[in-house]
Point group: C2
Chain length 339, copies 2
DNA sequence: CTGAAAGCGCTTACAG
DNA sequence: CTGAAAGCGCTTACAG
């Protein structure tokens, strides 16, 4: 007796079919299907429509709905590097959960940081009448805003552009740096090294500022000779090990988890044990790494999920958009066994 | 003189506006905008329309177009774990590149492997009239197909369901295992250990089969005592180190890169050097890990990008769908310095 | 070569 | 309480 045995047929039954089968008008069907508040529909008609809907397996055409309502339920998310770290995935995840919560769906596009792909992606989203666009980067940085982004509501996620007028949401690098340092301080360390990145960035300056402010708060004089520069990956951390050892620091705050991973190797080669001989804390809480080093790495998490979620909240006007400055999301401490 | 100074206005000008401004009918505008083959439009009218389009900054409404054409340009991609490894990101990346190439855009949904979220995601996609759905998992496994997937064209990516009738595309685990083993063989090793996962899966059986067949091809008798079981992560690899050393193997093929990473630590603790004392090869080519171990890890790559791309090709009927068996994508060798 | 008109599947005043 | 009708922005035969 089932009507839908054709295999594929999203195309199948329309509201008109339901109306006819239920013996009512499409207006009535529309009202009950959407549960319109103002609609006074008789219990009888309502029931008949509902039965018919499930009987026929009716599925509303969201596109037609959008067209007649004039307001879409798409949110576009353009990302520059969806495939190299889980970071973009976490932003997408957070954005999607929040979007769904409000009845929106995500249209995503990867651009590989390529301007042409970016323009194409934005154009495509505009043509699909997106409610707005989330423009995201896989690491916190300043960007120049693609012109087309101004043609709809947009928010920058994990990046910012001073003077662009676009709302932005970024991680609180300084608080993160402070948190990491304070954790080392709390364990009794006074001579704390900091392996910073060689790459100029908000992370570079912010985490350093946090490190300094934590020391200051603890009444420890900042010692420039305890700050080292290293490429922000395993190789950099490994290469920094001898310098760390020379510095006689008892603890080290690494610019990120990959640096910490390399440092682990370097320290171990010199016979040092973590945390007994020297404590280490990272940054990022990078998935397949941090929890699986030996010992598991204490670190500060980059709140990518939350960045994505906050981005859609800003876009939908659910959170008050901070007028000029980017919204800063806290980087929480993740305690493991390296301290 | 520009007409679009309102900040946001995706909503702005319609085809009708263009028609009026250009002094032609909307039919004519439609024809030139879409460059319809059959359309005989005067050079003059065509030029006027084109000028008006750029002048007004007209952007076609893709939703309206879909509605009247009756055929959508969406492809849905449901993923079970977008946020934990870069794997899903790579599938998305490949799927998107291929989809765009054919004029389609990607609607993505993360489900966290949760059935309710899955059903909701599929329903949402169906309501958006997707051309079809790619159902993907972050590691190769057998799944039970959500009922709703049969309501449209679907293809399974990185997973399969025997007897479901759905086309599927998966990595060629056996070839991968053979390739890894052959690489060790080629370096002169005869006594090769294999650390397999404890988790029953296509990877477990496939990579083992590949290992065996490579040995066989090389005229080496399979030695059960050289196959070890370990949890498929760093901890498992680390714990396996003593057993590996006892086995007197000169080379080891690890079930994945994370296992190799743990094994590195375990071996190093016993004073063994890689590759001088013992050669190691991994599997997965996992992003932030493989290239950054010391020494950089030779491995076999999981072709996630290609899985995503092949998935949309299958969906669009561009590749001949293999009738019953999943389509197998090769796992390429990645040579680095651990052999 | 070009336009008037119907139709895609829905929503929304407006009547009754 | 319910339906007829116009409209959302486009496409596509069909006339001329």
């Amino acid at each position: 007796m089932s009507t839908a045995e054709h295999g594929k047929s999203t195309s199948g039954i329309t509201m008109r079919d339901v109306a006819k089968a239920a013996g009512v008008s499409v207006a009535t069907v529309s009202h009950v299907v959407n549960n319109k508040p103002g609609a006074r529909i008789g219990d009888d008609a309502r029931r008949r429509v509902q039965e018919t809907v499930t009987e026929l397996g009716y599925r509303p055409n969201a596109l037609a709905k959008t067209l007649s309502e004039g307001t879409s339920r798409f949110i576009g998310l353009v990302a520059d590097a969806i495939a190299t770290t889980p970071f973009a995935g976490q932003i997408i995840h957070g954005a999607q959960d929040e979007a769904w919560k409000h009845g929106y769906v995500l249209l995503v596009a990867n651009t590989d940081g390529n301007t042409a792909a970016e323009d194409e992606a934005i154009a495509m989203m505009l043509e699909h009448q997106v409610r707005g666009i989330l423009y995201s980067t896989w690491y916190h940085r300043e960007i120049v805003v693609p012109e087309a982004l101004h043609q709809t509501d947009s928010v920058l996620v994990d990046c910012f552009a001073d003077g662009s007028g676009l709302p932005a949401v970024v991680p609180d690098e300084e608080q993160g740096g402070r948190t990491a340092t304070e954790e080392l301080l709390a364990a009794g360390h006074r001579r704390i090294a900091f392996i910073n990145t060689t790459t100029p960035s908000p992370a570079q300056s912010g985490r350093l500022a946090g490190y300094r402010s934590a020391l200051e708060l603890a009444g420890i004089t900042f010692d420039e000779s305890l700050v080292f520069a290293a490429a922000p990956e395993q190789e950099g951390g490994y290469a920094a090990a001898p310098r760390i050892i020379d510095s006689t620091a008892t603890a080290v705050f690494c610019h990120n988890d990959r640096v910490a991973m390399g440092l682990y190797d370097g320290l171990r080669e010199q016979g040092l044990r973590i945390p007994d001989d020297i404590a280490v804390i990272g940054f990022d809480n990078q998935d397949v790494i941090a929890a699986h080093l030996r010992p598991p790495l204490s670190t500060v998490a980059l709140p990518h999920y939350e960045l994505g979620a906050a981005g859609v909240r800003l876009l939908l006007g659910l959170d008050p958009a901070t007028a000029t400055d980017p919204l800063k999301v806290a980087c929480p401490l993740i305690q493991r066994q390296s301290i």
